[in-house]
Symmetry: C3
Subunit: 130 residues, 3 copies
């Protein structure tokens, strides 16, 4: 059964490390081997994997995305969050991670990041194991 | 068995809403729960999820991508569609969507978009349920 | 069981065609139908699908990404490879490809590319069949 986790973001734009929350869910779920699917059911947020150590990497990613796709740009969409729709399409809305012996096979430096581009908000993440 | 849907795009660059077509296929397929894989077997087209309501969002996405990666730029590839290869790599060629009770677990505002970057053409989409 | 392949990249930034290596693994694995998951457990490398014929496409993709996200930019991360973290998030770290009759259902022009952005290095790719 797909499960929903609640993710509370704290800033307008944020890469929020959710590795611990996801790993904990996998442990409770009890499956030992397979693929974990993570799906973001939003259009102004995404999900990505990246460095779990130096927070400056997250800052550099958000700053550079903002330079390429500014919050206030030449957009027509009336809600003023076109930049967030664009950024979510570029990071993507889903990721699938293999696991074995009940552990995600993430690389040593890899963390799972919920990518908020139009926050802060209460968001959802759908998890499903195959 | 993987199934192929035909997608007819109408413009050189277009984000074509295929949500209804994909949902209908899932209903006919009859599976109740799992992951639906959508795969684009092309190199100048992609697939993404985004807002299903205001078409200006699609316009803003295409316009901004075109600003970042212009159709006529400093490219070497002789066919003149390097921009489309780039855009397809940025949106990606596949997406996996969880479903339950025979319904895709898309967010309220999420639609599935076939991303044409070198059309109009007859395209294919490969669907597979796990 | 997930399997690890070793990928040796040869340049600082490179789109390395790994289609033959991956297809060969699928043949040895012996499964006839399903989804092949490819996962990159790194944060300065990614994976993408694109044209398997003209190498100028790979040159154009890398050159344009470099123009958008320069190696030497306004970054804070001390290791000097922020651009590579960004590029890996944009290409993505995983792809899922359907297969039938033991053959990947790639399009006629599609190849699988390991995307090195901070090489050359010995890298890993995790393969898993569902």
């Amino acid at each position: 059964m797909p499960t929903r986790l609640t993710i509370a973001t704290q800033r307008p734009q944020q890469l929020l490390d959710i590795t611990a929350q996801v790993s904990q869910w996998l442990t409770i779920c009890g499956k030992r081997e397979g693929i974990l699917h993570l799906f973001v059911p939003h259009t102004t947020a995404g999900i990505t994997l990246n460095e779990n150590c130096d927070p400056d990497v997250m800052r550099d990613i958000l700053t550079t995305l903002e330079k390429l796709i500014p919050t206030h740009g030449d957009y027509r969409h009336g809600e003023g969050n076109s930049h967030a729709h664009l950024k979510s399409t570029l990071t993507g809305h889903q990721v699938a991670i293999p696991f074995a012996n009940g552990q995600l096979l993430l690389g040593r430096w890899q963390g799972i990041y919920f990518a908020e581009f139009d926050g802060p908000r209460q968001r959802e993440l759908i998890l499903h194991v195959v």
